[in-house]
Symmetry: C2
Subunit: 346 residues, 2 copies
């Protein structure tokens, strides 16, 4: 199905001009006779002319496109980051192409190749839970294409990163549980491959330590972030001879799954067991009781990451700085951990 789109040559022929002149008029160069320019612009409009960015990119060797590679698109987190990033990108005249990897390493590798093949001028990345090898991203560095990680970052690459104070946030969350009198605090952690899992785990551990609570091995479980496993492990925890009296979950979706299981068992929150999540997803304020959680500035993460990327692109490769931007979190206390709080609401 061969279609023909209007080109500058079509316009040039129609007006008996050279394509150079048409190009100049269309791109707003100065050296064009005002009348010629007007004729060109009018005809272009009339013929639905739309500049071919592919050809432009080929000649300028910049695509004016940023790539975003995210691990999933199911929870509201990544779409929101994308909104933030897109806002900054389009202000700077860049288009954005997004790909999600469905938490699959293979797909992530394939997606990164698509970004390369489409000659993105830079990429924003948050890796899958399976990703342990980062060669497919190191290629970008070798080629001199700026890369910025956010949220789920690659520890071994020296590039800019945008994260939140995961350790601090986790510490405060667990401290809060301790201060409400909880003693057997469980932690449903993420996979060890993710830095955020390890950081949040460390926050948990240090909070216990600071308040001289013993670390109870059976109360700390790393899992793969799937809904099914979350359910299984929460059930397991609740059926222990000495079940936990509180649960700190790696993120809100996990915490919410936990709450469902807890409710189904007929236990009450926060008395029987208190729950704290991480992120402050939209659902956290809707569920009953409201979910206490460590709020992250999600859209800001996207904005900061995009800005950092744009900053790199203005610089020489040698000038790239591997700075890590750490955004603040805020503990939001709701009914899942505190009886004095509104049971739900915004």
């Amino acid at each position: 199905m061969k279609r023909h789109q209007t080109t500058i040559i079509d316009i040039a022929k129609e007006l008996n001009l050279s394509k150079s002149t048409v190009s100049r008029a269309l791109t707003g160069h100065s050296n064009v006779n005002p009348e010629t320019r007007k004729a060109i612009l009018d005809l272009a409009e009339k013929m639905d002319y739309q500049r071919n960015m592919l050809a432009l990119s080929l000649v300028t060797s910049r695509s004016n496109t940023l790539g975003i590679v995210v691990p999933e698109f199911l929870t509201s987190f990544f779409p929101q980051v994308v909104i933030g990033a897109q806002e900054i990108a389009s202000k700077a005249g860049y288009n954005v192409i997004v790909s999600h990897s469905n938490e699959s390493y293979e797909t992530e590798v394939a997606n990164s190749k698509v970004m390369l093949a489409n000659r993105v001028d830079g990429i924003l990345v948050s890796v899958t839970k399976e990703t342990r090898n980062f060669d497919h991203f190191k290629v970008f560095q070798r080629k001199g294409i700026p890369i910025v990680f956010f949220n789920r970052v690659c520890d071994e690459m020296s590039v800019p990163k945008v994260i939140v104070d995961d350790y601090e946030g986790a510490f405060r969350a667990v401290e809060h549980l301790i201060q409400t009198g909880k003693k057997r605090i469980a932690h449903l952690a993420g996979p060890d491959s993710l830095l955020i899992s390890r950081k949040r785990l460390n926050g948990y551990l240090d909070a216990l330590r600071k308040y001289n609570l013993p670390l109870i091995d059976e109360l700390v479980i790393s899992y793969d972030l799937t809904v099914e496993k979350a359910k299984i492990y929460v059930k397991h925890l609740l059926e222990l001879p000495e079940p936990p009296d509180a649960l700190f979950a790696i993120n809100d979706p996990t915490a919410i799954e936990a709450m469902q299981v807890i409710k189904a068992k007929g236990l009450t929150m926060p008395e029987d067991i208190a729950v704290v999540g991480f992120s402050n997803d939209y659902a956290s304020s809707l569920i009953e009781p409201g979910l206490t959680t460590v709020a992250q500035p999600i859209r800001e993460i996207g904005k900061n990451a995009a800005q950092l990327l744009l900053d790199q692109m203005d610089r020489e490769v040698s000038d790239w700085k591997a700075m890590t931007k750490i955004l603040k979190t805020e503990l939001i206390i709701r009914g899942s951990s505190s009886r004095n709080m509104p049971t739900s609401g915004h």
Copy 2:
């Protein structure tokens, strides 16, 4: 910042071959000496060669890219549609570029131009609530680029569309409310510009009619789908001299906002007022009581739309059929409209 990416010429020079041979080896053509091929493939790998899709697209005049234009990215609806569409697209070897318009007509027009400039081979569109003029999409038709609408479709364009049985779904929802004994059923409708608003409104009206309930004008309100307005109108409804005993909302986010207002007023659901939404968003099962809602097969919408688009691309322009695919909805009854139902849960 001028970077140089490996090209087939680099490989050709290194191996003392012509770029044609390199091209043939890389694209898997048959007529290449196995040894030469291996040498080429190995070197390409070693040099991080990545085919330049921009150049390819220029010569083949197909970009192997589908565009998706959605009105917003905040609710889970559109990201889920994108997941479905992307699944089908990538199976067929197409990349996807997504743009959201933030419910702004201006942005939508700009986004459609970006799609054109990037020479997408087809687009999937759901329009903003502001869109009343469709010229920016008609250009695609004129250029012979297939276009498929979904969810928020353009009524005046004769192209394939994927929707759900909005009328039917709304009718069943309202019928359900009537059957639980409700008599003063309000409807918080969407803007009149959207076909889905009108269809759902008609379902509402016909249900009233069928059961001989009077249409009470003050109970039907069209609004702009913003959170703030939802709150204001729900409050208004509740403060009427004769407030409604049920509310059918255009979609789940609206219904959920309504529920917050109702709870804040200390009213109980479903006794004081029953609520029904549309979509079955994730949050609907979490909120307390669970939200009765008309479930749509969200991901299927994306899959069907993408498939319809691919079908067009295999055909001559003259063969395009403007068929409308209507997917089934299902009424999911939860605690917001029925006391016998579980208060929440999946």
